[in-house]
């Protein structure tokens, strides 16, 4: 038994607004391959009287929080947030997958969900002479956990540093003092831990007098922009900053990148925040680069299946990761490079590429890496 008070839940989450049109489920990338059905879930919660048993509803862990459902709902219901809240009921009872438990505990202890020691957070930057953020520095560079620790994504962080230095922007970072933004923690349903993280990070931002910041990951960007209480800090994803740097002539490319590139919109940039143009502006600003679009792009972009804590959770249908379909869609365009601008997308797509044995036809790169090559 995992009983929740469904009447209260339905009221809090605006579920009575639902007209059962099915738009959420029709576009849900997970509904295609698992039993997750947001419309049906909402209806069951509505008709359950005042008690709904979540027992056995393992498909709640399939949701990637891609926001397709919430961005299209004609009645402003947010099935994605309802799923996150329902996960909370599992978390409260400690009924979570061991991987989730590990990620949550690690974040609590080490400030990252990857079970990595805090001291090693800055190792990737040891030879880059990045100054610590302090009074009077214009931008805080919020690196994020995956770019700090994952060897593959560290390359993205390094490229990004070179680009921002090249553009002569005044920035600093928090080094070992940086802690997880909590984006995935919140989406795994650990609202309490997330609240704690927010409080600590808010205090830190205030103590350091941060006015402006940019992030490597769209997930960190979204958390600071939409999940944190308003704090007056102007947060940007790095593609926004680079696009502005190009427009203002702070950043200039001297090399050429003679390749056909297609762009995979990360959900947390696109569907969550409506940022579709800036990444493309950076790509088309690269001399020699030819941008082609996949059929599913921008608002219709297919999720890579790396969000909502799914980096650490297989879900109920591990056989066909969405990223593999995505690789096929990228191959169909004839592009040589599949570009993205998100650490999670980069990792899931690259893994899928290996799985498809298509590494001789396609490369997965972050926009920052491509731009770094033409400096």
């Amino acid at each position: 038994m995992l009983q929740i008070e469904s009447r209260q839940f339905a009221t809090t989450h605006n579920l009575f607004a639902c007209i059962q049109c099915g738009k959420c489920t029709g576009g849900c990338p997970m509904a295609v391959k698992t039993t997750l059905n947001p419309r049906n879930l909402i209806y069951r919660l509505l008709v359950a009287g005042n008690g709904y048993d979540l027992e056995g509803r393992e498909e709640l862990w399939d949701c990637t929080t891609c926001a397709t459902c919430s961005s299209r709902c004609p009645k402003l219901v947010n099935p994605m947030e309802a799923v996150i809240a329902l996960r909370g009921a599992f978390v409260e009872k400690g009924r979570v997958h061991p991987n989730v438990k590990t990620a949550l505990e690690s974040t609590f202890r080490h400030g990252n969900p990857l079970s990595m020691p805090r001291e090693e957070r800055v190792r990737w930057a040891s030879d880059l002479s990045i100054k610590p953020f302090g009074e009077g520095v214009e931008y805080l560079f919020f690196v994020g956990c995956t770019p700090s620790y994952d060897p593959r994504v560290q390359q993205v962080a390094r490229s990004l540093v070179k680009l921002v230095q090249h553009a002569n922007l005044d920035f600093g970072f928090l080094a070992e003092e940086e802690s997880c933004c909590g984006s995935e923690i919140r989406r795994l349903g650990e609202a309490g831990l997330f609240e704690m993280i927010v409080e600590e990070n808010q205090e830190m931002l205030k103590a350091m007098s941060v006015d402006k910041m940019f992030t490597t990951s769209p997930h960190c960007f979204n958390a600071f922009k939409n999940d944190y209480p308003q704090n007056g800090v102007q947060v940007e994803h790095y593609t926004q900053l680079l696009s502005r740097a190009l427009e203002n002539g702070w950043l200039k490319f001297s090399g050429r990148f003679e390749k056909t590139v297609t762009f995979h919109d990360p959900c947390y940039l696109g569907k969550h925040n409506g940022i579709y143009d800036e990444p493309r502006q950076v790509l088309t600003g690269i001399p020699g680069l030819k941008l082609v679009e996949m059929d599913r792009s921008r608002e219709k972009s297919l999720c890579c299946e790396g969000g909502g804590g799914r980096m650490w959770l297989e879900g109920s249908n591990p056989g066909t990761r969405l990223a593999r379909w995505r690789i096929q869609e990228a191959l169909d365009t004839g592009a040589q490079v599949l570009a993205t601008a998100c650490p999670f997308c980069l990792l899931t797509l690259e893994e899928a590429l290996k799985h498809q044995n298509a590494e001789d036809k396609l490369r997965v790169m972050d926009i920052a890496e491509i731009a770094d090559q033409v400096l």
Partner: protein
């Protein structure tokens, strides 16, 4: 003494803004009631949306066959001054004494000389190359015309107009050594020296019949309108189905006869995510009618309608909905989430909510039932005279049940879709009610019983 002999100045008169079916009906009724009417229409012809439709539901009357006689009546009515290609620039004053400034846009064609023969359009170097704006163009962007045009052959008035956004001379200052249109015109009507004119009229009462904007389906990017040529709107379908349309009534897309049609209801209606909360009231029946036409003209075609709820509330509507299903049109409940490309065809992805299953429906023609939204262009003068709008953006009536034609201003009345979405019968009834309200105030101002002339008489045959 007939009313027409009374000197204009002493007679209270009315202004009707908008020349669609609502404005046409209101103008005819007020004029038949014996008062002078100035009818102002922004585009080059009266007729409005109704003129674009092929058949009307649920009776399947030919839309233009029932509309055209009324348009002609307007042009011949001795009490109606028709100003097309004109806009209300300014309104001041109050009930009984409105001063209205009307901007007459230059047609670059002398209205007194043009005979509507069309030689100019044939000669125009852009003939067959101007698509225009799909949201406002008569053929909804599915056909191309010249830079000098009449919107459609039954246009009233049948006078050509130079499109200032397309004309090579007007956009670039030069059209070659000579003006092709000017050379071709045997009436000497082309006149590029024309400029905008402002005229003033004094009226006692105003009827607003500015209609609605068609929803721009690009605002629902998940459907790929404007990206996939196989995705069209219900308005485009009307033009495809119309015997007088660019395909002479053949439902064809680039010479291809569609075999798998999917209609999608409620595109731009009932949708809070794009701030359009209202039901547009006509789309359920418009789709039923179009599905019927498709069934009729495309033998063997698979026709699917994807819907959330079917609203068939009007006289004969439910019966028509029954009829269309009997013909084999498949209604599936589910609001589709997206359209993607698969090979040559498209795939509509939806949850069939009655099955509780995801379905992918292949289609070679998808028709989006685009809804109505408040007219943006009506903002200018509405703000100037402080005409109230409701939360939904439509002009606000005095009382939602008892005074639906009275606006927030005394002496200013609302007719048709400017007050909220309506189908044709409701629009005509509303316009007649607005005309009645206007006539009452006009009669009171005259201080004597109105002399009624020729109600229902057709001036087209006089």
């Amino acid at each position: 003494m007939s009313t027409y002999d009374l000197p204009n100045r002493l007679e209270p008169a009315a202004l009707v803004i908008g020349g669609g079916i609502a404005g046409i009906q209101a103008a005819l009724d007020i004029a038949d009631g014996g008062f002078q009417v100035t009818l102002v229409e922004r585009s080059a012809s009266i007729g409005g949306r109704m003129a674009q439709l092929d058949k009307t539901f649920p009776t399947l009357d030919c839309s233009s066959c029932i509309l055209t006689p009324k348009m002609v009546d307007v042009s011949r009515h001795p009490n109606i001054q028709l100003l097309t290609y004109s806009e209300v620039a300014k309104v001041s004053g109050q009930m009984g004494d409105f001063q209205v400034q009307i901007r007459r846009k230059p047609r670059y064609v002398d209205e007194s000389k043009c005979r509507g023969c069309g030689l100019c359009a044939e000669a125009c170097r852009l003939n067959g190359r101007v698509r225009g704006d799909p949201l406002t163009e008569f053929n909804a962007g599915i056909a191309k015309r010249a830079a000098i045009y009449v919107p459609f052959p039954q246009a009233v008035p049948l006078i050509y107009t130079v499109d200032p956004e397309a004309c090579v001379y007007l956009t670039r200052g030069v059209c070659g050594k000579t003006f092709k249109c000017q050379e071709a015109c045997t009436a000497g009507a082309i006149d590029f020296t024309q400029s905008e004119q402002l005229i003033e009229v004094n009226v006692s009462t105003i009827v607003i019949a500015t209609g609605y904007d068609v929803f721009d389906a690009r605002r629902k990017p998940e459907f790929g309108y404007g990206v996939y040529p196989q995705v069209i709107t219900t308005l485009e379908f009307e033009r495809l189905a119309s015997a007088s349309g660019p395909t002479a009534g053949k439902i064809r897309l680039n010479e291809h006869q569609p075999e798998k049609l999917v209609f999608i209801q409620c595109v731009g209606s009932r949708d809070l995510s794009i701030d359009l909360p209202n039901c547009s009231r006509v789309c359920c029946m418009a789709v039923a009618k179009q599905a019927h036409l498709a069934h009729d003209r495309l033998p063997g075609a698979e026709i699917t309608v994807l819907y959330m709820d079917i609203r068939a509330f009007g006289k004969g509507f439910e019966e028509f909905y029954d009829r269309v299903r009997h013909e084999g049109v498949l209604y599936r409940r589910g609001n589709p989430s997206e359209i993607i490309r698969r090979g040559e065809n498209l795939v509509v992805r939806a949850e069939d909510t009655l099955l509780g299953e995801l379905v992918e429906i292949e289609a070679d023609l998808v028709v989006l039932a685009v809804g109505m939204q408040p007219r943006r262009e009506a903002d200018g003068f509405a703000q100037a005279i402080k005409l109230a709008r409701g939360e939904d953006g439509y002009f606000l009536e005095q009382h939602p049940k008892l005074q639906t034609v009275e606006s927030s201003l005394p002496g200013v009345f609302l007719a048709g879709c400017c007050q909220g979405p309506k189908d044709i019968p409701d629009t005509v009834a509303h316009a007649k009610a607005a005309a009645s309200a206007a006539l009452i105030s006009l009669a009171k101002m005259r201080g004597e019983p109105a002399i009624l002339v020729g109600i229902g008489a057709s001036y087209a045959t006089n």
